[in-house]
């Protein structure tokens, strides 16, 4: 490889980074959705720093379920736009140490799923620091790790109220819901997949569940036995009965794969040639008065 080619390729491989303050829109980040990628939005959320090691194995299951079986080139895999938290946790003492969390699942798809666009939405929860190991967005005093912007993704949207103020962690999922408004209005299919997680994940699951009552875009897949709030919701039969668009899978590759196929998140190679389209399975919106697109998604929740 010539030096010019290698120079260009490391630059081209670097994610674009857009900083959005409150009240601003970010058209350049949203323009990612113009790419020639299958019209499906996967939002991935769940446990990070507080996830117990006993649940780490499921992250590998999720990678395999979404990324396909490496030994089978006909294995279904994710194609579409993936919104995730956009961060990585690295050790304070040893920055080469990666602390596992949900945000390690989706960057792995960038290589495994060439027809996917991996998009990070990051809350500026701490004042930014540039370091040789990445840009720090959060640094808890008692934590053994710092949180950096993940180096492997296509594009990142960094959220801040203002340049001087810090965002809270909820702003990530709230912004993701706002971002999903446009694909929803264009009748793309969507899916939130939740693994483990704490109170923020719980609020996001609840938000999607509520939105999904009126808008078929907002479907949810909870991983049972993943611990945390996703695991709890997955066992709450009353909640599941009230929200038929909330689905559950077991914490195994096969169960995840079956459900992801059913919900259209993963597709077999050559899916374009098959007769059935994912969107054909979505119910049509009803009358104008009940139309789910009468107001923006997140504002509907906050009224």
């Amino acid at each position: 490889m010539s030096s010019n080619t290698s120079t260009q390729s490391w630059m081209d491989a670097s994610p674009t980074l857009f900083v959005q303050s409150e009240g601003q829109s970010c058209e350049k980040f949203l323009a990612n959705f113009f790419r020639n990628v299958r019209h499906f939005v996967l939002r991935g959320t769940g446990g990070c720093g507080n996830m117990k090691p006993e649940f780490y194995y499921g992250l590998e299951n999720l990678k395999l379920a979404l990324g396909g079986d490496p030994s089978d080139e006909d294995s279904p895999k994710f194609e579409g736009f993936c919104l995730f938290g956009g961060t990585r946790m690295i050790g304070k003492e040893d920055p080469s140490q990666i602390f596992l969390g949900i945000t390690e699942v989706f960057p792995a798809l960038a290589e495994r799923c060439p027809d996917a666009r991996i998009l990070g939405v990051v809350a500026k929860a701490g004042h930014l620091r540039t370091t040789p190991h990445g840009t720090i967005v959060s640094m808890g005093e008692k934590d053994p790790y710092v949180t950096i912007i993940h180096p492997v993704q296509h594009s990142v949207l960094l959220l801040q109220p203002t340049v001087d103020k810090l965002a809270n962690w909820d702003s990530e999922y709230q912004r993701c819901i706002d971002i999903c408004d446009a694909p929803s209005k264009n009748h793309w299919p969507g899916l939130l997949i939740a693994y483990n997680g704490g109170s923020v994940t719980a609020r996001e699951i609840s938000a999607w569940a509520q939105l999904g009552r009126k808008d078929p875009f907002y479907r949810v897949l909870l991983v049972k036995n993943s611990g945390g709030t996703a695991g709890e919701f997955a066992c709450d039969q009353d909640f599941l009965d009230e929200h038929p668009h909330v689905h559950v899978c077991d914490n195994t590759v096969d169960s995840m794969r079956t459900k992801l196929l059913e919900l259209g998140a993963i597709v077999a190679p050559g899916w374009q040639e098959t007769a059935q389209s994912v969107t054909a399975n979505l119910p049509e919106p009803d009358s104008a008065t009940e139309h789910p697109h009468n107001r923006s998604a997140y504002s509907a929740l906050t009224e």
Binding site: E27, A31, F33, F34, K185, N186, A288, H291
Partner: protein, 295 residues
């Protein structure tokens, strides 16, 4: 049949100056089968009856190649987004005519299933026509927003203030630019037109967006062709110059306009420009094919 994504009809947004076009509006462009977007710019002022009659057949003949037999099956066609100024003339029964450049997206949508979109500067207070409920966007009740589109955006300064006639130009150029960056094939087709059309021509070229100029359509488009092909700048900004002369005002502003246009042309890749004839749809078809716009 026009592609209708919103089951209620043409999706409509009203955008204030400084606001971006809503993502939901812009994303309609991705519903087209082909990753391409064409802006149809200009007007038809001064058209002869023959030129007026030739306009829609020109576009219909240029956007699809058909078998030369009675069946006329389409061999290849444009399947992307076509967008324009969004207005249409309506009769007393609410029927929309196809007599303006701004109706080209709807006509092509009906014929070939392209995604028809528009950006319209709000140059008058809006009204709802009392018999059929169509959206009146002009000073007369017959000037409507063309509802036969997939999506339309009205651009205003704010709820109280109207917009200048060129108010949507930077907005739509940003939109086209983002699509171009995402790999979309882009072009501006221009006919006739005045000062704003001239700005659109040179604005497109500055942004690396190809311009397909329709010869024989008069005014600034023909003036551009004369300047580009023949180096003759006498017709560029000539209407503006004539108005200033009639009003006994200084015409230096026109000289400055010409100088700016010359600077733009000097700096562009000349292959960005194609010239086609209004009376020859095959010339448009050939350029569309050459630019990879037919699939």
């Amino acid at each position: 049949m026009t592609k209708q994504i919103d089951p209620r009809g043409c999706f409509l947004v009203v955008v204030n100056a400084g606001e971006a076009l809503p993502a939901a509006f812009k994303l309609f462009a991705t519903s087209a089968e082909q990753k391409a977007i064409i802006r149809v710019a200009g007007g038809c002022k001064g058209f002869t009856p023959e030129a007026s009659a030739a306009m829609m057949p020109f576009f219909l003949g240029g956007f699809a190649e058909k078998e030369q037999n009675a069946a006329g099956k389409i061999i290849r066609q444009y399947k992307g987004v076509v967008f324009s100024g969004g207005t249409a003339n309506a009769d007393d029964d609410g029927n929309l005519a196809n007599d303006m450049v701004t109706n080209v997206p709807a006509v092509l949508a009906d014929a070939y299933g392209v995604v028809a979109m528009s950006t319209t500067p709000r140059t008058a207070d809006l009204a709802l026509e009392k018999k059929h409920g169509g959206l009146v966007v002009g000073d007369t009740v017959g000037t409507r927003l063309d509802y036969r589109q997939t999506a339309a955006a009205i651009i205003q300064v704010n709820a109280s203030q109207q917009m200048d006639w060129d108010g949507d130009v930077p907005v739509y150029f940003d939109f086209m630019g983002d699509l171009k960056d995402a790999g979309y094939n882009t072009a501006v087709i221009t006919l006739n037109g005045g000062d704003i059309t001239r700005d659109e021509i040179y604005g497109a070229l500055k942004r690396g967006i190809p311009v397909i100029a329709v010869e024989g359509s008069l005014r600034e488009t023909d003036a551009f062709i004369k300047a580009f092909r023949d180096g003759d700048w006498t017709d560029t900004a000539s209407e503006k110059r004539a108005k200033l002369v009639k009003a006994n005002k200084d015409t230096k502003v026109c000289d400055d306009i010409v100088a700016d246009c010359q600077a733009v042309l000097a700096g562009i890749d000349k292959s960005l420009v194609s010239i086609v004839k209004l009376t020859d749809p095959a010339s448009l078809l050939a350029v569309m094919a050459q630019r990879g716009l037919l699939v």
